[in-house]
């Protein structure tokens, strides 16, 4: 039987990155032999974007088919399960054929209750993720059921997309220039547009008067221009910070594939991340991080940020009053990093003055690492989305 994931490349490669990770995670779980015999296939509209994430071209046990190529689509058999990732529509002709197959009883012939169409939602930490997860979404097509599958951090959600292999912290395979060197503090930057003046200032102040060294790996992408501009500005206009800034080295990192990015996050001491894929990677690295949420109208991204903080907080308050204090500082910076000034265009800005500060991440690094390391360990044990999905499919068999 086949499980087919439909993906549309919208922007920033984020959607296809999650889908590719999900496909690999499914193959990983299926290889244990405990979840039945499923072939995993991806339908994607932009193979170029997919190749950028997986430059080797080796997709292993995952079949990848261009969804805009009608001939290619007709050449692959219909699946028993279609996962429409983040609203990506299944090509019309294929969906019609799927419905016809369902009405003809093809599911029952394979031992399934029905063919299944899964609406895979975006990751959110909001409480509604639990009430929507696994809700039916009837289509009125005989022999076909549709259900919502909602990723989340909470217990009664679909869980998180990750592979067990991504938890390997040994960064073998990283080139020497990207691997950890003799720096004391290794930081990665991968966010939306932002002015990082406060990062340079706070990091410089943290290092001033010490023998410590820091390296900041600035990835290719939307945050690079603001990171570099603010770095140059601070160096040129703040001679008072020079004693601290001289301890910092910036490294420009080109676009890297998914596995390399994961290894870099895992080896770092502090990560600035964004969106969904890198956010989960950072959470599961067990290292302190700052998350840049996807910008939405009327600062709605703050709803997402606060929901995450709500899930995050108990990990700290369980440690007692000092945990609560550390969390309070952390939460303040998460909100400051994500709040856009009112009445501004709906875009992130590399020039608007930043409001967040970073001292809390450096001063409480050991504490944060302990709490986050424990949480990452627990999430890896219990919140693997691919496993939850396959368990759900097991229940779909008659």
């Amino acid at each position: 039987m086949t499980l087919e994931i439909v993906c549309q490349v919208v922007d920033n490669y984020g959607d296809i990155a999650v889908v590719w990770r999900l496909a690999q995670a499914l193959v990983e779980d299926l290889s244990t032999g405990h979840h039945g015999d499923w072939q995993v296939r991806i339908l994607v509209d932009d193979l170029t974007a997919f190749r950028a994430l997986n430059p080797s071209g080796n997709t292993g046990a995952v079949q990848v088919v261009p969804s805009l190529d009608a001939a290619a689509l007709r050449s692959v058999p219909l699946p028993e399960v279609i996962i429409e990732a983040f609203g990506a529509p299944t090509p019309v002709e294929r969906l019609e054929a799927f419905f016809i197959s369902g009405a003809a009883g093809s599911a029952q012939a394979k031992g399934l209750r029905a063919l299944l169409l899964v609406h895979l939602e975006y990751l959110t930490a909001e409480a509604w993720s639990e009430s929507y997860h696994l809700l039916p979404s009837p289509l009125g097509k005989p022999g076909v059921e549709r259900v919502f599958f909602v990723p989340g951090f909470r217990e009664r959600t679909g869980g998180l997309v990750f592979t067990d292999a991504s938890g390997v912290t040994n960064p073998q395979g990283l080139s020497p220039d990207l691997s950890r060197g003799d720096e004391d503090l290794l930081i990665t930057l991968f966010s939306y547009e932002h002015d990082f003046e406060n990062l340079w200032t706070d990091l410089g102040n943290h290092l001033r008067g010490t023998d410590l060294k820091a390296r900041v790996q600035v990835f290719e992408g939307r945050q690079r221009e603001g990171a570099l501009a603010s770095w140059e500005r601070v160096n040129a206009s703040r001679p008072d910070l020079a004693p601290g800034l001289k301890h910092i080295t910036l490294q420009l990192v080109p676009f890297v594939d998914q596995d390399t990015y994961t290894a870099l996050v895992n080896q770092a001491d502090f990560n600035v991340v964004r969106g969904e894929e890198s956010w989960v990677t950072a959470v599961l690295s067990g290292k302190p991080f700052l998350w840049h949420a996807y910008l939405q109208e009327e600062n709605h991204q703050l709803v997402k940020v606060n929901a995450f903080l709500e899930v995050f907080e108990p990990r700290f308050t369980a440690e007692g009053s000092w945990g609560a204090e550390v969390f309070a500082r952390l939460a303040q910076e998460f909100r400051a990093f994500n709040k856009r000034p009112e009445a501004t265009p709906l875009r992130n800005s590399a020039t608007d003055p930043p409001a967040e500060h970073y001292a809390a991440f450096f001063e409480h690094h050991a504490v944060l690492s302990g709490v986050l390391g424990n949480w990452a360990h627990e999430l890896r044990k219990s919140h693997k989305l691919s496993r939850r999905l396959l368990d759900f499919l097991n229940g779909f068999q008659v």
Binding site: V10, F86, G87, H119, E121, Y122, T124, E126, W128, S131, Y132, L135, P136, S137, P138, L139, G140, K141, P142, F148, Y294, Q296, H300
Partner: protein
Amino acid sequence: MLTASELKVGTVFKVGTEVLVVQKLEGTKTGRNMSVTQLRVKNLLTGVTAAAAYRLSDNFEEILLDIKKMNFQYLTGDTFNFMDNESFEQSEIDREDLGDAPHYMAEGMDVEIVFYEGKPVSVKLPILVDRQVVYCEPGIKGDTSGRAMKPAKLDTGFDIMIPIFVDQGEWVRVDTRDGSYKERVKVTK
């Protein structure tokens, strides 16, 4: 066609061969580039109710319905009884099929009843209804700004926030879409 974003309590729509009526809107959530809505629906053919979720862009076949003006007569347990003032024909609808409508309906009130294949399935209320305040704390004379609000109970039993200058016994105009106070009204009997 009807999209999921247009579904309201009482909307009857078709999903395949199933005819469903929306009993309750549980809420709409916004994702990154789409919104989803959770409903409680009742299958008009089987009577089974269930929770369901839809993307707001999902669309459905709209059902042709009959609408008749009837008068709300009385309530027996959780069953609302209506009568056609011309034909004296009676119809009953259970509370669970009326959504929030009971908040705004008092005996003797004319409403529109929605019928599907001769069966009453929901009620259509006017956007604005006038109801009497049966309980609230005394108002404060002089403050007619309307900005300070206080809790009150209507003659239907519904709790509402009203300006502090409105007194018990007075009539208010209420928006049935969200239960909000609109204005004080004078009702001549």
